[in-house]
């Protein structure tokens, strides 16, 4: 068991009388490129929220980067290098695209009110550096031409890229993407997938929840299938998609 | 300061609490379904009380006051939904909250413009209290209790025994459902606003019977009603009623300790303490459903 991994053991979650997660267990390498699928209502979103610390599970443990993070807040998990995006992009609509990225930069002394007034020189120098990094990521994500546009005016696909850029400012070890392809046109899907592949090659890990099975299968190396709150199958994408149990679950889920 | 004194204080608290509970129930219904705290609730209650006054001019008694007051308040509540709150439904709840404060001011301004600031009184006979052991029960108290309990029972029956009530609870549970089911949701909202207005009307007329009718009475009722609503968890009808009673009791029973000027603050203090311990309200759990 390597320390550089995300491991989920025995996670349970109930809402009222409904069991949403029923002892999910899996682990994936923190520098790998993994995908997660499952029919509607399988509990993916809840699991995602529990892994990132936005919800608390009733039972079970989450380990990340060699630590038990179960009791940590969402903010603390980010500090350990676990980044996330949202299913529906949650850009800061009134901030410009560049500001969205700059806001994400960690460890800014200008975020301290006193420092913002007392050490203008230091804050200015930091800002210049942060801006440079933000612009570099914007160029990488092909968003440089909209850097000064309010984020609220971007198209759906651009918002997905923006969210990715924002997470990248955190210099995370691993990023959890929640449906990065949902509502994005095929051309942009290709572009987003290309960026993810390149980032993965640079050593950033990904766990991607997605409904677009074809696009996901083409992107990831390893796939998990969740159904009725449990891990149903895992393995190479082709093998998983060929698994009769998985097909059954998807048929059943559709009915 | 014997037990008789305390029993009487507690009884006062219950009567006060019931009137607050009715307004709180109105607020909680609106919050559970339309998703914002309606600050105009108090002023709808005031209009109900004034409407009751209008029937006394033609010789109406308690029943006529209540009936007409409740009808007017219910109609007004629906009207406000149609002309104001419906158009705000797609904006953040804060927009509706601020607009409802504006509406409250506007209603009060219209009232004071036409009837002035002077107090009015329902011309009902004043009857002596009947002693029950140490307790002195006034006939109006019995009326207040009976009407309040009836109104509360009617609302709970509506919510739990009728098809539209079940749908109201479903919408309260899941706001997306409201969006998905179009026309049905409109019917739910119409019934809900009528119901909320009627409850405010009962609260206003009962307050008028107990005290005097003045344009400011509803706004003054609003703070304790809000406190009761939060205390019992916004959107929870049982909680709203118990919250109202709790605030009434806490205010009156605290007077031997904190005195009379601070007793209004006690309701708020209870609320603050509760929020520190249980930020989600006393009766957490999902909205109107459980």
């Amino acid at each position: 068991m390597s320390t550089a991994e995300l491991a989920v053991t025995g996670v349970q979650k109930r809402f009222g009388g409904v069991t949403v997660l029923d002892g999910v267990e899996f682990s994936c390498p923190a520098d790998g490129l993994s995908g997660m699928i499952g029919p509607n209502g399988a509990g993916k979103s809840t699991l995602f929220a529990i892994i990132t610390g936005f919800q608390a599970g009733d039972e079970g443990r989450i380990r990340f980067a060699g630590r038990d993070v179960t009791g940590l807040s969402a903010v603390e998990r980010v500090h350990l290098g676990l980044g996330r995006t949202f299913q529906v992009p949650r850009e800061f609509g009134s901030l410009s695209v560049r500001e969205n990225l700059m806001a994400a930069a960690p460890g800014q002394s200008g975020e301290n009110l006193l420092a913002a007034f007392l050490h203008p020189g230091r804050v200015r120098a930091e800002e210049a550096a942060i801006r440079e990094r933000a612009d570099a990521w914007l160029a990488f994500l092909n968003l440089a031409q909209v850097a000064d546009t309010p984020a609220g005016r971007l198209s759906g696909g651009q918002r997905k890229l923006l969210e990715l850029g924002r997470v990248l400012m955190l210099e995370p070890k691993m990023i959890l993407l929640d449906e990065p392809f949902a509502g994005v046109n095929p051309v942009l899907i290709g572009e987003i997938a290309g960026r993810i592949r390149e980032l993965s090659a640079r050593g950033i890990g990904f766990l991607i929840v997605e409904h677009n099975l074809a696009a996901l299968a083409a992107l990831v190396n390893h796939m998990f299938v969740i159904d009725r709150g449990r891990l149903l199958a895992e393995g190479a994408p082709a093998a998983v998609l060929a698994d009769p149990a998985v097909r059954e679950a998807y048929m059943g889920g559709a009915a | 300061m014997g037990s008789a004194y305390l029993i009487n204080l507690a009884f006062n608290g219950v009567i006060l609490g019931l009137i607050v509970a009715l307004a709180a129930l109105s607020i909680t219904l609106v919050f559970g379904i339309a998703r914002f705290p309606n600050a105009a609730t108090g002023d709808v209650a005031t209009v109900g009380a004034f409407a009751g006054l209008a029937v006394t001019a033609t010789g109406g008694g308690t029943a006529a006051i209540l009936g007409f007051g409740v009808l007017t308040a219910a109609g007004l509540s629906l009207l406000f939904y149609l002309i104001l709150f419906r158009g705000l439904a797609d904006k953040p709840p804060v927009a509706s909250l601020i607009a409802s404060i504006g509406l409250a001011f506007f209603v009060r301004a219209v009232l004071t413009f036409f009837v002035g600031h002077n107090q009015q009184v329902y011309p009902l006979p004043i009857v002596r209290a009947v002693p029950f052991g140490p307790l002195r029960v006034q006939p109006t108290d019995l009326q207040v209790i009976a009407v309040a309990v009836l109104a509360l029972a009617a609302v709970f029956a509506l919510l739990h025994l009728t098809a539209i009530g079940r749908r109201m609870r479903a919408v309260a549970d899941n706001p997306d459902l409201a969006r998905a089911s179009g026309i049905a949701a409109t019917r739910v909202l119409v019934v809900m606003w009528l119901c909320a207005g009627a409850l405010a009307g009962v609260s206003g007329t009962l307050l008028g019977i107990k005290t005097v009718v003045s344009p400011e009475m509803g706004w003054d009722l609003l703070m304790p009603a809000f406190a009761a609503t939060i205390l019992g968890t916004i959107g929870n009808p049982v909680g709203a009623v118990l919250g109202g009673l709790l605030i009434g009791l806490a205010q009156e029973l605290s007077t031997p300790i904190v005195g009379f000027t601070y007793k209004i603050g006690v309701g708020f203090l209870v609320l603050l303490l509760m929020l520190l311990v249980r930020p989600q309200g006393l009766f957490a759990g999902n909205a109107l459903v459980r």
């Binding site: 980010v78 500090h79 913002a116 | 520190l276």
Partner: protein, 295 residues
Amino acid sequence: MEAYLLAVAVIALIYTLLTLGLNLQYGFTGLINFGVVGFFAIGAYTSGLTVLAGWPLPVGLLLAALAAALASWPVGLLSLRLRIEYFAIVMLGYAETIRLVVTSESWLTGGVRGIAGIPSTSAALGLQADPTLVTFAITLAAVVAVILVTRHLIASPFGRVIRAIRDDEDAVRALGKHPGRFKVTVFVLGNAVAGLAGALYAHYITYISPDQFVSLLTFYIWVAMIMGGAGRIGGAVVGTVVLMVFVEGSRFVRDVMPGVAEVEMSSIRLGVIGLALMLLMRFRPQGILGTKGNP
């Protein structure tokens, strides 16, 4: 005429301070503060009592801002645990409680009788000049200072985060930043400005009593902020000017239109404020000047 306009301007500037403080909280950070008048009152009483006790005016102003900040800190912390609508109502109650304390603790505040004979700004500074002029100068300086500080703050990394919080708090958390720390700071800061405004008010009117600190003032300030456009510094100034022209203008309307029954003026004022709140929320939530989506 100049002196009268100057007097109106002083009140307008004091309101502008309140609007600027609220704008920082709601306009830039999305915090709902329905307790503005409470912190205004704390500032007024703190500075009034301090200067009456013989301390110099700057100490009074400073303590006023500090006291308001201190009083808002615990409720600011509470705001982090509460839903936004709960907090809105809690703040209404908090302002009312402050008024209740001021009313009841008469050994300190004079109770319902209030405090008379508070030294005016010029008296407190030992100047012979017209108190209105001195208050005007100090208040104007305060407004300019608050505007400059706010602008610097909004442009700073701190300001970027609070604007991000207004747009989406969960997304800020996903970036590894605690929204709470920022929200409490902004809440306390905005209320310190309200406290300062209260102090200037006390030394201008020179008499304060609980009756002067009712929730209507809070809503005046909300109207001013929303009219000018939440999240716009210039909007706070414009909104307050529009409000003052309306409130004071009604005085002159009566001279022109004697047909309007005079007793009903207060009803009309309240009604117009109410109508303005409704119409703005319904049709121009971004304010009179604001453009949609780009504050």
